[in-house]
Amino acid sequence: MSQYLVSVLTEGSIFTVMALGLNVIWGWGGDFDLAFYGYVALGAYMTLVLTIGRAVPPAEFILGLQLPYPLAVLLGALAAGLMGLVVGLIALRHLRGIYFSIVTLGAVYVLYVLAGQYVPLFDGYNGVSGLFDPMGSTFGLTYQTYQYFFLGLCIAVAVVVFLLLERLSGSRFGLALRSTREDERATAAFGRNIYWLKLRGYVLGAVVGGLAGGLFAGYLTAFNPSAWSPIETIVVYASILVGGKGNGRGVVLGVFLIAVLLQESTRFLPQVPNNPELVLALREMVIGLVLIAFIRLRPQGLLPERRHLDREGGPGTGGPPPLGAGASHAAPQVGSAEPDAS
């Protein structure tokens, strides 16, 4: 039982990191990014090919280095950030709303198809495997103690990411990014460069996603296209929506409720002999229904985001957050956001 609990908690902390990353893009920036799981996958793939050494034929994949695990995870997160930068440069320039979502959906499918079909990249549908107990031998851990060690590592990463993002959330950058969600025109009028703001937020989210992917690779020891499909993002979205979009604590709660409790609760249902997918399908159906129900009944989530009110004006206006007095270093660069406003 404790074995089981350890694995559930490990998975939960990895999902927390993932959801916190997506929360930057969707919760703060307000962009419904369907490419997010691609960053998680890229982080996982990169971590694997950077740690497990040269490919043994017939397997083939790029790089094949034997770097230490933490370094590989960081490089994987960096790779995810680079991909986020490319996608963001294209998608955030002119596109918002559904057009943004559709282009990011396209981007993640391009990655998905490449990973699955272009064998020299990540060995196609076989995927990359063989990352056993990273760092375990360095610390001389047995299989049993290693599980606890890895759980501790994941929780530590989740806590650090949470604290960093909480700090950033109240910073000028966090507030400005959120103001673009509320009213881009107003933000631009205050002299903020919307494209640059959104791009930074997007890359940050992608990096955190890649980090979660690196941890995921260590937990799963392997990664292949059947381990992820672009539609998996919906579980992360449901977690954020249920917990409270834009609120870090809410996101953690949502991950606990959806990605952990709901996912695990179906594990104990009896298997139906002639329809092995039944339980899985039921769970996914419930996640879809929860998503719809929350959008309808409680779109702000269980723990709503604290609205930053105008400090000077009266309470209850619920308007855009104050932009701080720091307009001095942000040169007015309305130009890049404006040309298509006509």
């Binding site: 559709i102 399908a281 039921l282 298509d340």
Partner: protein, 329 residues
């Protein structure tokens, strides 16, 4: 595209086209040139079939968007349900016509149900468009998994005797493919007639341009929107049937993967304008068939979205619409 002939099937059909022409593909010269042109024309012929199916799926999506301003991410499931309905009815009755009608009706009913139970309720409560968009993604998840629960996730074989391929002009089509093409043309003509020459079509266009103004002039916008969704569902359900027929197999996820191509094609053509969408779908369908023939059919989806990304960067409102997209839209 999923509508592509199965691997190997295509090659044998090229061979059939070549029969009796004594051509030497590797020898340069006039014969070689003729062979290349022939091959290109054949690919174009298959591309037209794929494009016909794609445009049927895309026009449904576009109509749904036109009257509610919501991109319906559960549109692919209408195709899937159409395919299942056709399969079940054909197994019972053995009639292809009955199967086609069942597919269309099932699609229409599902689209109507989606509209009245989810979309309209959200719209009337003033839920932001983006949230409704997300809800349709959840809905797609729900319908897919409901189908898995009812029918299981395994592939259903749905093979229909295609008949011997026949030369029509430079193209080579089986009787089934000819039926698909003819029905697509007929449906397009019917849609054109409905949208441009009936009172309902006029109301539809009014609602799509400005829902509030349409209501001011006494149009029952909600009823028009529901009827449009039903119409779109009819077309999409039928598209699911012909898609299943030409691929020969389907499962609960089949519509969603085809929908991704539909999405790329519809947005490339221009959302909300039924016939721009169709034109875009035809172009994308043919482009994909050539990709499949000359590069690899595994990369089709990636290519579809690459085309879309290009189009969106150059002409954000779609190939056939004027004006640029505002950042502040």
């Amino acid at each position: 595209m999923r509508a592509a002939p199965p691997p190997g099937g295509g090659a044998s059909r090229y061979a059939a086209a070549d029969r009796g022409q004594a051509s030497f593909p590797n020898t340069p010269g006039p014969e070689h040139g003729r062979w290349v042109i022939n091959e290109v024309l054949l690919t174009l012929g298959f591309g037209l079939v794929s494009a016909a199916i794609l445009s049927l799926s895309a026009v449904g999506f576009s109509l749904e968007y036109a009257v509610t301003n919501i991109a319906n991410l559960s549109h692919g499931e209408i195709l899937t349900v159409g395919a299942y309905a056709a399969y079940l009815v054909q197994r019972q009755t053995g009639s292809l016509l009955a199967a086609a009608i069942a597919a269309a009706l099932a699609g229409g009913c599902l689209a109507l149900a989606v509209h009245t139970t989810v979309i309209e309720r959200f719209v009337s409560r003033g839920t932001p468009r983006m949230s409704i968009f997300i809800a349709t993604l959840g809905l797609s998840f729900v319908i897919q998994n409901a189908l898995v629960i009812i029918f299981g996730a395994t592939n259903v074989a749905y093979s229909i005797p295609q008949g011997a391929p026949r030369h029509i002009g430079p193209f080579l089509w089986t009787p089934t493919e000819i039926t698909i093409l003819a029905s697509a043309v007929a449906i397009t003509a019917a849609l054109y007639g409905i949208i441009h020459h009936t009172k309902f079509g006029k109301a539809l266009r009014a609602v799509s341009q400005n829902r509030d103004l349409a209501r001011v002039t006494g149009i029952h916008a909600r009823r028009i929107a529901a009827a449009t969704w039903f119409l779109a569902g009819l077309v999409a359900g039928y598209a699911g049937f012909v898609l299943a027929e030409s691929v020969g197999t389907f499962n609960p996820y089949f519509g969603f993967s085809f929908f991704l191509i539909t999405l790329a094609a519809a947005v490339a053509g221009g959302l909300g304008k039924a016939f721009s969408t169709m034109a875009g779908a035809v172009l994308v369908g043919i482009a994909l068939q050539f990709t499949g023939a000359y590069v690899s059919s595994s990369y089709e989806l990636a290519f579809a979205f690459a085309i879309l990304a290009l189009v969106i960067l150059v002409r954000p409102r779609g190939l056939f619409s004027r004006g640029r997209l505002s950042v502040f839209e």
